[in-house]
């Protein structure tokens, strides 16, 4: 049980870390496109790791209800498909409206 709790805590911790890094990147990066780099990737893995931790915890704590981990696994699957697609859609919209990407040495926007 101790090992399971350790693994779950490590997964949750890693998930929280990546989500936090995504938020910091959103604040630090200089323009729209680079900010999307931070949020689009870190949210995918951060959310995925947190849900994975929940799945493992549930499997060992309540082994009689296997449906809940299955539903959570579907959640991971959909996040991994929807997140890059949404990031790409926002990026495309910004590019089509003519937003110029930031180059090295410019002022941050």
């Amino acid at each position: 049980m101790v090992i399971v709790h350790g693994v779950v805590m490590a997964l949750l911790g890693a998930g929280v870390f990546f989500t936090l890094v995504g938020s910091i990147g959103l604040l630090r990066f200089p323009d729209f496109y680079t900010r999307l780099h931070a949020t689009g990737k870190c949210d995918t893995l951060g959310g995925g790791l947190i849900i994975l931790g929940a799945i493992i915890y549930h499997l060992f704590q309540y082994p009689e209800t296997l449906l809940v981990p299955a539903k959570l696994a579907f959640l991971i699957f959909f996040i991994f498909i929807a997140n890059p697609t949404a990031t790409h859609a926002i990026m495309k919209a910004a590019y089509k409206t003519g937003l110029k990407p930031w180059r090295l040495g410019e002022e941050r926007r």
């Binding site: 910091i24 680079t34 990737k41 893995l45 951060g46 890059p84 990031t87 790409h88 180059r103 090295l104």
Partner: protein, 167 residues
């Protein structure tokens, strides 16, 4: 031949939806199972061509290759996140954004979607535009190294082309 393909499409859609119904409902009495099967049958007859399209040949082999591709892709996602974390937390923020263009040999809808999403999830690159008729990609890279990985090495294009057999 045509009829056989249609039957295969209906059957595959039906199986996927039946599994989904059972997993999400979680109730195994006769009423719920039968109503689920009836609903799945109606929907799969009406709209099977949304999910399963075109030729069925080599579909099994492609699915197997996709299953091998996914773990590699997951590892790339972890690398991408460590890369972004490094760039975010580094005091000097080592970024140098640029937009690159390249063409691929891919033409299929699903293979283009896979490559576009893979590019978005892997280190330092996000897909901006895809032109399906030429297989052309417009990609925003956060620094020089990830851009060169896409332009020079082309590991990802080769892997996706191998999965969908479109070399």
């Amino acid at each position: 031949m045509k009829l056989k393909e249609k039957g295969f499409g209906i059957l595959l859609t039906f199986c996927i939806m039946a599994v989904f119904w059972i997993l999400l409902s979680g109730v195994f009495d006769a009423f719920h199972l039968i109503s689920g099967i009836v609903c799945c049958a109606i929907v799969s007859i009406i709209s099977h061509d949304l999910l399963v399209k075109g030729k069925t040949e080599k579909k099994l082999q492609k699915s197997l290759r996709l299953l091998i591709y996914i773990p590699w892709e997951l590892w790339q996602i972890v690398l991408a996140n460590i890369d972004v974390a490094y760039r975010v937390l580094h005091p000097k923020m080592p970024i140098d954004p640029l937009i690159i263009e390249f063409e691929t040999t891919l033409r299929g809808e699903f293979s283009l979607l896979t490559l576009a999403n893979s590019i978005t999830l892997t280190p330092g690159t996000i897909t901006i535009l895809v032109k399906p008729e030429k297989g052309k990609f417009l990609v925003h890279a956060i620094a020089k190294e990830p851009a060169e990985a896409l332009l020079v090495d082309q590991t990802m294009q080769k892997k996706v082309a191998h999965v969908f057999m479109e070399t």
